[in-house]
């Protein structure tokens, strides 16, 4: 039985359609069109485009409050909408589930392509880079009220000038980041 199963999955591995859609990477343009399709699906159903980083502020707040802190006096969480999100908890926060879904969706894609591997840290430099880079992304996203998805992708697609202005910032930042990366983190 186990032998048969193994044979079955080995057969799947060489199946033409599996190789094309499950194994090999898609072209960038194919992925761009598919992302657009699901952005439009998301917008027409939820009446809001896709966003990622706003939920991270709430994740931080939930952890902070679990550790005994309080964000009630913070301007960012002062609105009644923000307060009710905080009260209802992460299990009832739709955007949180979408973010976790991005992780599990990518996990499924990697496993189905038989390409999963835990990639360990190679050098302490990578930890420093991840800490600094992560902090900068978090802080920057709050200033701009969004990340590469909410402020850039969804912003520009919403015909918002803010999206274009954010894009200019991103581009300049990417040049800074590249210089730092080559100099200190390679």
């Amino acid at each position: 039985m186990a032998e048969n199963k193994k044979k079955f999955f080995d057969k799947v591995k060489t199946n033409e359609y599996y190789v094309r859609w499950g194994k090999n990477p898609y072209t960038y343009v194919t992925a761009a069109i598919l992302l657009s399709l699901f952005q439009i699906v998301t917008f027409s159903v939820t009446r809001n485009p896709w966003g990622v980083s706003n939920a991270f502020a709430y994740w931080g707040a939930w952890v902070f409050e679990a550790l005994g802190g309080s964000v009630d006096k913070w301007y960012f969480f002062a609105s009644s909408g923000a307060q009710s999100i905080l009260e209802e908890g992460f299990l009832n926060h739709a955007a949180t589930w979408r973010n976790i879904g991005v992780i599990t969706g990518a996990l499924a894609a990697t496993l189905l392509a038989s390409g999963f591997k835990i990639k360990k840290i190679k050098s302490p430099k990578q930890i420093v880079a991840a800490v600094i880079g992560g902090l900068m992304m978090g802080y920057g996203a709050r200033l701009a009220l969004g990340c590469n998805i909410g402020a850039f992708y969804s912003g520009i697609s919403s015909l918002a000038l803010s999206g274009w202005v954010f894009a200019i910032g991103l581009f300049i930042g990417a040049i800074f980041g590249s210089k730092l990366l080559v100099k200190y983190f390679m």
Binding site: P25, T110, S114, G115, F116, K117, K119, K120, I121, K122, S123, Q126, S178, L181, V182, M186
Partner: protein
């Protein structure tokens, strides 16, 4: 004609590509550069760059999530 291994396991984008670009400049025509990667994006952008440069390229899946990009400096 020699074969050069470039160990980029554990390196995130764009490090493998930048390293490969620098390494290939040191090689002679006919030499082979083997870039070892486990970053799924590098598995796409390293071969793409090398093909655009006009080199012979082959991607070999060594293990789950590990690849070798074999680049022959053909010109």
């Amino acid at each position: 004609m020699k074969e050069v291994m470039l160990d980029c396991y554990g390196e995130a984008c764009p490090v493998p590509l930048v390293k490969a670009q620098n390494k290939i400049k040191e090689l002679e025509v006919g030499d082979v550069l083997i870039v070892q990667i486990d970053h799924s994006c590098a598995m796409k952008n390293v071969p793409e760059w090398a093909r655009k440069e006009g080199y012979n390229v082959e991607v070999e899946e060594i293990d789950d999530g590990e690849w070798e990009v074999i680049i022959e400096k053909s010109k």
